[in-house]
Amino acid sequence: MIELRAFMGLADLFRERNWPSPLEVDIQGEMTGAQLLAMLDIPPEKVEVVFVNGRAFTPPMAVLTGGDRVALVPPGVPGTYRVLLGFKKLD
C-alpha cells in the first residue's frame, strides 16, 4: 500500500472522484510515478511532480514501493520553490 495525497487542482480531482486524501493505493512490487498515474487514470500533463517520501521527482523518475508516502503536485507551484525543492531541472 502507498499513502497518496494530491494538492491544488489534483485535490479537486480526488474530490470529484470521491477519493479520500490520503488515498491508500495497493501496488505490487515497484512502479514508477508515470505508471501510477496511468493506473489511476490521471492525465500525465496534470502532474508536474511526484513526491516520494518527501523528495520530488518527475513522474517517470519517481519509483514507488509499498509503505511509501506519495503526493502528486500539478504545474503551477510558485516558481522559486520549484527550483529550490528540486522540481525543475535547470540547464
Partner: protein, 574 residues
C-alpha cells in the same frame, strides 16, 4: 527624469526638484538602496534624526505593464540595524509614477510631540497635523478617516499604533483599491516613519500626466508578450485560486514546513490550514479567493477571507502568516489565524516577525502551544501598548531575549520565514547572506539568463546551493527595481520570452538598449551596495550565519544545517 521630493520634518520644508543625475537610471529597490547607502549614516540610530525613509516606484510602475504596481520603501532598519528595502502593493506606487515622482524622501524629526500627515498632490506637498482621532486608531478605521478627509481614492501610506510606539517590527501599511491593507511588512520601517512623527502620507493623483513612454508601439507589443507569458503559465491559475497558501501542503510534503518553533519539518494537520482548505472555505462562505493587490495584476494571489456569515475578516492572507501561526505555533484553526492576521494589520506590525514571536511566546510558556484564543488575546496587546504587547510587537528576537530563549530563529535580528533551512538549503543560504536579514523574498526570482545553474539541485544537499542562492538574489534585486511583483518570475522561469519582454518594455519606455546582461549587472551592483552599507554599519560575516540550533536534525529527513562559514561566504563572493 522625474521629480525628487524631500520632506524635512525638522524644518517642515519641502523641496521638489529634478531627480539627481546619479539616480536617473535606477528605480525601486535600486534607488532606495543607493539612496540609503549614499545619504544615511550607516552608524546612525535608526530612530534618530539621521535616518531617512525613501519611497520609490519601479521602472515600469504606472505603465500598462502587467503586475508593475509595487513600491519600494527603504531606510536603515530598527530591527536588523542594517539596510532595508521593504516592498508593497496597494495604490500608492502607481499614483507616484503617474505624477512623475521618482522618489519621496522623509528626513529629520519634528520638535513637536504630535503627528503629521504629509499630503502629496499635483499642486505640491503640504504637512498637515494628523486628525486627532487617527492617533492610536486601528489601521482599517484610520484609512477610512483619512480617505473621508482627503478623498475617497487617495493613496494612503500609514503607520498603526505599533509605528507610533516605534516598535521594531512595526510596518507601513498601504491602502489597496478597496481601502483594505497591503504591507511594507518587514524590518520595522513603520518605526522609522513613527520616529519622524509621520502618521500617514496621502497621495492624490488627480490631474496627473501619466507615465511618458518613448516608444509606445514597441512598449505595447512587449507588454502584450509579457502579459501572455504570465497568463498562460499555470502559476497564475495556482496562485489565483489558492493564494500563496498553496505552499503549506507542498512544504509539508517536502519536509520543510517548520513546526513547533522549527523542531520538525512536517505535521499531521497541515492540510487543515493549507490553500486548498482556505479556498474551499472561502467559496463555501461567499468570500473572494482571487484578488489583486494593485491595478494591472494578472496573477491575483490575494483574497478576501470571510467569516461564517460571509463578512470580510482579512485579505492578503499569506502563506507566511498562516505557516507561522498554524504550523510553527500549532494553531490548527484558519479562522483564528485570520483574526490574528487582521489584528496584526490593525496594529501595523510585520505578520511574519510577530507570528514567529507568538511561537516563541509559546516556547517560553506564556501561552500554551496551539492555543489560538490565547494567541489572539496576546496579539491584541500589541496595539494596547502593554509591556507584553510591546515585546511581541518588537518581533521574535525581542521575545527570545526577554524570555531567555536560545532557540530563536532569526538572522540579523529578523525572524526566519516559512521554509526550514535544513530541508531547503538554498533558502537557508539566502536567509544567512542577504543584507536584509532572514528574508525569503530576497532570493525569490529567477531570470533565465542569470540562472545558469546546471543540473539538479537537491534541497537536502549542499551541492549547487551557493550558486543558486547567489543567482536568485541577483535576479531578485533586479526585479525589485522594476516595480514588478516578484511573482512574475515564476512564469519567467519557464518562459524565457517573458524575461525578454520585460527588458524590451524597459527599453521601449525609456528609449534604451539594455540587454539581459545589463539588467543582471544592476542586480549585482544593488547587492554590493547593500552589503557595503551593512559593513559600514558594523556588520561582519559573523552576521551571515544561522542560529546554532539548526545543527540539530530536522525530521522527517533528519537533515542538519552543515554549511561552513567559508562555504556561506562564497554566496556573496562575486
Amino acid at each position: 527624469m522625474g521629480k525628487f521630493i524631500r520632506v524635512d520634518m525638522t524644518s517642515k520644508e519641502v523641496k521638489i526638484g529634478e531627480c539627481p543625475e546619479k539616480y536617473a537610471g535606477i528605480a525601486g529597490r535600486g534607488l532606495t538602496s543607493n539612496f540609503v547607502a549614499d545619504e544615511v549614516k550607516p552608524t546612525c540610530h535608526p530612530l534618530g534624526k539621521n535616518n531617512k525613509l525613501i519611497f520609490a516606484p519601479g521602472f515600469l510602475t504606472g505603465t500598462s505593464a502587467a503586475n508593475s504596481g509595487r513600491l519600494s520603501c527603504g531606510a536603515k532598519s530598527p530591527l536588523t540595524g542594517g539596510i532595508k528595502e521593504s516592498n508593497t502593493g496597494g495604490t500608492f506606487s502607481q499614483k507616484m509614477a503617474k505624477m512623475g515622482i521618482k522618489a519621496i524622501v522623509f528626513e529629520g524629526i519634528p520638535a513637536e510631540d504630535k503627528y503629521f500627515v504629509v499630503k502629496v498632490t499635483m499642486n505640491g506637498v503640504t504637512i498637515d497635523e494628523a486628525p486627532a482621532e487617527t492617533v492610536g486608531m486601528g489601521n482599517y478605521d484610520a484609512i477610512k478617516v483619512l480617505q473621508q478627509k482627503y478623498g475617497e481614492k487617495v493613496g494612503v501610506a500609514i503607520i498603526g499604533p505599533a509605528g507610533e510606539m516605534r516598535l521594531s517590527a512595526a510596518n507601513i501599511s498601504f491602502a489597496d483599491r478597496e481601502s483594505n491593507l497591503r504591507s511594507a511588512g518587514r524590518g520595522g520601517l513603520g518605526a522609522v516613519m513613527g520616529s519622524k512623527k509621520i502618521k500617514a502620507v496621502v497621495i492624490d493623483d488627480t490631474g496627473a500626466p501619466g507615465v511618458a513612454i518613448a516608444d509606445p508601439e514597441a512598449f505595447k507589443s512587449a507588454a502584450k508578450r509579457f502579459a501572455k507569458a504570465l497568463t498562460t503559465h499555470p502559476v497564475c491559475q495556482g496562485l489565483g485560486r489558492y493564494g500563496t497558501n498553496v505552499l503549506v501542503n507542498i512544504l509539508n510534503e517536502a519536509g520543510g514546513l517548520p513546526t513547533e518553533n522549527f523542531r520538525r519539518g512536517r505535521n499531521e494537520w497541515a492540510n487543515n490550514i493549507g490553500g486548498e482548505t482556505m479556498t474551499a472555505t472561502m467559496e463555501a462562505r461567499g468570500g473572494k479567493p482571487t484578488h489583486g493587490c494593485h491595478a494591472g495584476c494578472v496573477i491575483q494571489c490575494s483574497q478576501h477571507y470571510v467569516d461564517k456569515k460571509g463578512k470580510y475578516i482579512t485579505g492578503g492572507f499569506e502563506y507566511e502568516t498562516i505557516w507561522a501561526l498554524g504550523a510553527n505555533a500549532k494553531i490548527n484553526d484558519l479562522d483564528i489565524i485570520a483574526y490574528a492576521d487582521r489584528e496584526f494589520d490593525e496594529a501595523g506590525v510585520d505578520s511574519i516577525d510577530c507570528a514567529v514571536a507568538v511561537g516563541l511566546a509559546m516556547e517560553s510558556g506564556i501561552i500554551p502551544w496551539g492555543d489560538g484564543k490565547a494567541a489572539l488575546e496576546l496579539i491584541k496587546e500589541i496595539r494596547k501598548g502593554t509591556p507584553l504587547g510591546r515585546i511581541l510587537g518588537c518581533g521574535a528576537a525581542a521575545v527570545g531575549r526577554m524570555f531567555g530563549l536560545s532557540r530563536v530563529p532569526v538572522v540579523k535580528g529578523q525572524a526566519i520565514p516559512a521554509y526550514d533551512p535544513r530541508a531547503v538549503k538554498g533558502e537557508g543560504l539566502t536567509y544567512a547572506t542577504t543584507a536584509m536579514g532572514a528574508d525569503h523574498t530576497a532570493g525569490y526570482a529567477v531570470a533565465t539568463n542569470i540562472l545558469k545553474v546546471g543540473g539538479f539541485v537537491d534541497p537536502l544537499k549542499k551541492e549547487g546551493q551557493v550558486e543558486l542562492s547567489r543567482n536568485l538574489q541577483i535576479a531578485t534585486a533586479t526585479i525589485d527595481s522594476t516595480g514588478m511583483c516578484l511573482f512574475i518570475a515564476f512564469a519567467i522561469l519557464d518562459i524565457p520570452d517573458g524575461f525578454n519582454a520585460l527588458v524590451d518594455m524597459i527599453n521601449a519606455q525609456y528609449g534604451l538598449s539594455l540587454t539581459g546582461d545589463d539588467i543582471a549587472a544592476l542586480g549585482k551592483s544593488i547587492l554590493k551596495i547593500e552589503r557595503g552599507f551593512n559593513q559600514r554599519a558594523g556588520f561582519t560575516n559573523a552576521a551571515d550565519r544561522l542560529p546554532e540550533f539548526f545543527e540539530e536534525e530536522c525530521p522527517p529527513h533528519n537533515v542538519t544545517w552543515e554549511f561552513t562559514g567559508e562555504e556561506i561566504d562564497e554566496v556573496m563572493n562575486f
